[in-house]
Subunit: 139 residues, 4 copies
């Protein structure tokens, strides 16, 4: 199955007094990865909200912090789609430290599709279509 | 003139790899101070937005970083009103490290009053009244 | 078993464009809860690091986002200890929105004890002792 | 005088309940700009700290928030060096919203050069040299 890759840099803002990347920030990095993957599929979240009345909400997050990453590191954020069913999509994501090629964090993130009134609704058909195509490709 | 005091704690989330409180966070701490001062005057920003159609926007910020503060510190956030004119209020704010009694950051923050459509409008009369009373008091 | 409670306020800094508390921030709120619980037991993390050469690292986090919380909300952060074994402690934590008495987020957080060189080591004996006493008490 | 440009994206993490980019984040965006400018000149801050015992600290920041930027925006961070004297460098920085070509924030940031013991010291000679060359170039 195909994975999406997105490169980020860590800055001072991402570090903490233990000298490493603050763990809560991986939730942000993973969201950047999902956003860029969606963008590569041709979808912008602001347009989806305004034109289709669709928003996404994180419902669950399971994170494992494997190794430290540091200030000034390059990280590759990998995004796979594990499953897509109705109003729910589960992502598997990993952050790899370029310098050491080690995985520093991995997680499963469940995102649900909501109407702008906050009710669950299926993902837009075009999104399901492109996403299914993407999942069937190889890297 | 009277100053408002609000006590905060710094946590891991506030520190950076230099082992000190990350400077951008003082903008957040000062906002907490202004929010709590407004609350002490009897105003809640969510109610002001819903009932009076009023929001506040930071227009300018001048900050001076005097000394480092550290993870796990207690800081007193001091808030003075320097001036109030029409749709604009200028705050003078300081963060004092309790352990050493040193001032670690000071700043001037200009906040403007907007309608929910984003147009400048005077602060609500009741707010001006209570604020003026507050400014005339002594600590 | 006894639970620890810590009250926090949400500010503008905690909200996002969906008008709700940004989900990644619950990791920060839960850490504030654990820090204050440790403080109530008589332990300061900066002293533990300097005097005992001990630090804590989050190894795993599982979060469920149940309901939205909003800007300007009061949240009670509840902290239970689920298990304590060797160098690992697992916390069960919840955030309750005071206005609606609803739980908005719950999670399990695994924290490990490390030497300042980054090697796993048992929690300090005095900490285990006080913690065990605490766990046996009722609220 | 030559300016450095760095492109960033805003994500959910950067927005607030007013639906716009949270103002404190411009301090982070400007720091990313300065970091990337330094990198383009051939300097990495982690190497400078380890090899040369040099760190940088923000001493003053003056920010003006001109227009709102939104979730999912592209911003160009422009960085100019206004002056360089001894242990102090003053940057002029601006954030331009690509969609509207409007400047949304501008600021002056004073950064000081410190030894790892926290004492002011001149910037490394090679940095001054390359920086001076850079300043004399045209865009």
């Amino acid at each position: 199955m195909r994975k999406h890759e997105f490169l980020i840099r860590t800055y001072y803002e991402d570090s903490d007094a233990a000298g490493i990347v603050y763990y809560a920030n991986y939730l942000k990095f993973f969201e950047r990865g999902r956003t860029e993957w969606l963008r590569d599929l041709g979808f912008e979240q602001d347009t989806l909200m305004q034109d289709d009345g669709v928003m996404f909400l994180v419902r669950k997050a399971e994170l494992e912090f494997l190794k430290p990453a540091y200030f000034n590191d390059k990280l590759i954020i990998e995004t796979f789609v594990q499953s897509l069913r109705g109003a729910s999509i589960i992502f598997e994501q990993q952050a790899q430290r370029v310098a050491s090629q080690e995985y520093v964090c991995r997680g499963n993130i469940q995102v649900v599709c909501l109407s702008t009134r906050g009710r669950p609704r299926p993902f837009p058909p075009l999104m399901v279509e492109r996403l299914t195509q993407y999942m069937e490709q190889e890297n």
